[in-house]
């Protein structure tokens, strides 16, 4: 994959604030759009000076109908605040696509479990899985109905959509993993994918393992380079024999086999 990664000055095509702290950003980044696979991310400079210094990793949320690269992010700190301030016409330094994406299976029954911002890489994944003739069951959860992101976009896609909210303001009352659990009988799915809060992904992994369901998760870790130079972004993974070692989230991930991740850390 690495040879496809580029650094480019992407032009902002559009930026919109879809929630008080959530932004949808379209960029013209043709090489990235062409090569991107679901689960991969882009690594973005959020300053023209040295403060903030490091790039910020953002998952590839979608590739638009005109080939635009679509990002969905929360304005959290200094870097994303800068990004939220960028307007159409500005240029942004983007490195990507980076990382190992999700496995794209074909002709299968798949479950996608998205908690909160976890929907970001999973929308693009759903699109690609539909293209490969899978039956896509999309479980979307959030704290309340206002925080269910990209509901309209998902409704326009050919997915079976299941909703969960912590406060019951939409769909099932509880976490998205609890909702998924209710649908999880042996054989119900051939493959499962998740992204979301650490605790929910751990639960997801445990549930999938119980029914021997192949499952993948997208992890987050603080990053510097994003391309495997520094070993700053590791997570503990266990090999088959339970032997623990640190692997780069940026270059070996961010998507990992759920069964391999050491969740207790």
């Amino acid at each position: 994959m690495k040879l496809l990664t580029e650094i480019l000055e992407a032009v902002v095509l559009a930026s919109s604030q879809i929630r008080p702290d959530i932004y949808l950003l379209s960029l013209e980044a043709p090489t990235i759009s062409r090569d991107a696979r679901p689960g991969q991310f882009v690594h973005i400079r959020c300053s023209h000076t040295y403060d903030p210094l490091l790039r910020r990793p953002l998952s590839i949320h979608d590739i638009g109908s005109k080939g635009e690269l679509v990002l969905l992010f929360q304005a959290k700190g200094r870097g994303t605040a800068w990004l939220a301030g960028q307007q159409a016409g500005n240029r942004i330094n983007v490195l990507g696509p980076v990382g190992q994406g999700f496995s794209i299976v074909a002709n299968k029954k798949v479950a996608i479990v998205a908690g909160g911002l976890g929907v970001v890489p999973l929308l693009f994944l759903a699109r690609k899985l539909l293209e490969s003739d899978n039956e896509v069951n999309f479980f979307l959860g959030a704290q309340d109905c206002d925080k269910l992101l990209r509901l309209e976009a998902l409704r326009r896609m050919e997915v079976n959509l299941f909703l969960a909210t912590d406060d019951g303001s939409a769909g099932f009352k509880g976490t998205v993993t609890d909702l998924w659990k209710k649908h999880l009988r042996p054989g119900a799915f051939d493959w499962a994918y998740a992204c979301g809060p650490q605790a929910e992904m751990a639960e997801f992994a445990r549930l999938a393992e119980r029914v021997a369901l192949p499952a993948e998760v997208s992890l987050e870790e603080r990053m510097a380079c994003g391309i495997g130079l520094c070993r700053g972004c590791v997570t503990a993974v266990c090999d088959a024999s339970g032997h623990k070692k640190y692997e780069n989230v940026c270059s070996c991930g961010p998507v990992f086999n759920a069964a391999a991740v050491c969740w207790e850390d």
Binding site: L3, T5, P52, L53, R222, C230, R231, G232, C233, Y246
Partner: protein, 313 residues
């Protein structure tokens, strides 16, 4: 912004020499920010670098510190990688064949938990074709045994240096820590013990606390600070050491542009290493080399070595 218009036709020499090794230009990666080379190959032509410097090797595989290992600070980066590496044997088998076929001289960075581990590493690597020098890391702030301890006590630094020298005929570069009262004392001690060149600085000790969790931002509690934030400290160290010893110095600490390189050379560095800049911009090494080419051309400098230690006091 930093690029100077090249004066047509003029082409100054960028060649420098460190411990008997000729570098086509003074710019090399800093250990630990370059992986084992392959990771950067999609972005830059490694053969254009002044030298190749790889991540610190230890005798046995080292798992490294628990995450988080990275914390951004104002114009800086705190890291506590903890020397994660596959160990010297796996390096020789898996990584060296690739590195060996690159043109720039290969410098291998080593760290031991004991003096005899340093010696063993030196002897193990000396036999391998394609290695042009050893860089002895006595300055890592992120490991409990060895590392920085050897770098803060002049006598111990000298002992490590002497032990390594004894095991190898390769040139030995000793990498110093800035976390000392007087860096020239350590510098003089290792030079007296046989160091052929010095590399400085390694990271400054630092810490950050995550307010959400009220825990240290790094799994290892403390880390090493690098990047533009530390440049003034690094430049001062290079200037001090350059006036205290006669061996060549590889300067580093916060170099982001060709202009930074020139400052380090004026302060007394013969060559420089670029670390954090590569993490921010994978093309930084090449952009810096090109910037240097432009600078010497624009200034009509025939030989970049004119700049070494040329600061006017």
């Amino acid at each position: 912004m930093e690029r100077v218009q090249a004066v047509k036709g003029h082409q100054g020499s960028l060649e420098v020499e460190i411990a008997g090794i000729t570098l086509q230009n003074p710019v090399m990666p800093a250990a630990g920010t370059f992986g084992f080379g392959e990771e950067l190959a999609p972005f830059i032509d490694l053969n254009r670098l002044g030298a190749i410097v790889v991540k610190t090797l230890t005798l046995h595989p080292t798992p490294g510190n628990p995450p988080p290992r990275i914390s951004e600070t104002y114009s800086g980066l705190l890291n506590s990688i903890g020397l994660q590496n596959p160990g010297v044997e796996k390096f020789v088998q898996v990584k060296l064949p690739y590195l060996r076929q690159l043109k720039p001289p290969l410098i291998v960075n080593i760290a031991g938990r004991t003096i005899s581990e340093y010696a063993e590493l030196a002897s193990r690597l000396s036999g391998e074709a394609g290695i042009k020098a050893l860089e002895v890391n006595i300055s890592c702030p992120n490991v409990k045994e060895g590392g920085i301890i050897f770098g803060t006590v002049p006598e111990m630094a000298a002992q490590v240096t002497a032990a390594v020298k004894k095991q190898t005929s390769l040139p030995v570069i000793v990498k110093l820590t800035p976390n000392v009262t007087d860096i020239t004392e350590v510098a003089k001690a290792v030079v007296d013990a046989g160091a052929d060149a010095l590399a400085l600085i390694n990271t400054l000790r630092g810490m950050a606390i995550d307010l959400e969790t009220r825990r240290p931002a790094l799994g290892n509690i403390i880390g090493g600070l690098s990047g533009p934030a530390i440049k003034p400290v690094a430049l001062y160290a290079v200037w001090r050491v350059a006036r205290a010893v006669k061996v060549p110095i590889i300067g580093m600490g916060g170099i982001m542009t060709a202009h930074d390189v020139i400052e380090f050379m004026l302060a007394g560095a013969t060559a420089v290493a670029v670390g954090t800049a590569s993490l921010v911009n994978p093309r930084a090494l090449i952009e810096i080399i090109e910037g240097l080419e432009d600078y010497v051309a624009a200034q009509g400098i025939d030989d970049v070595r004119e700049l070494i230690g040329a600061v006017q006091i």
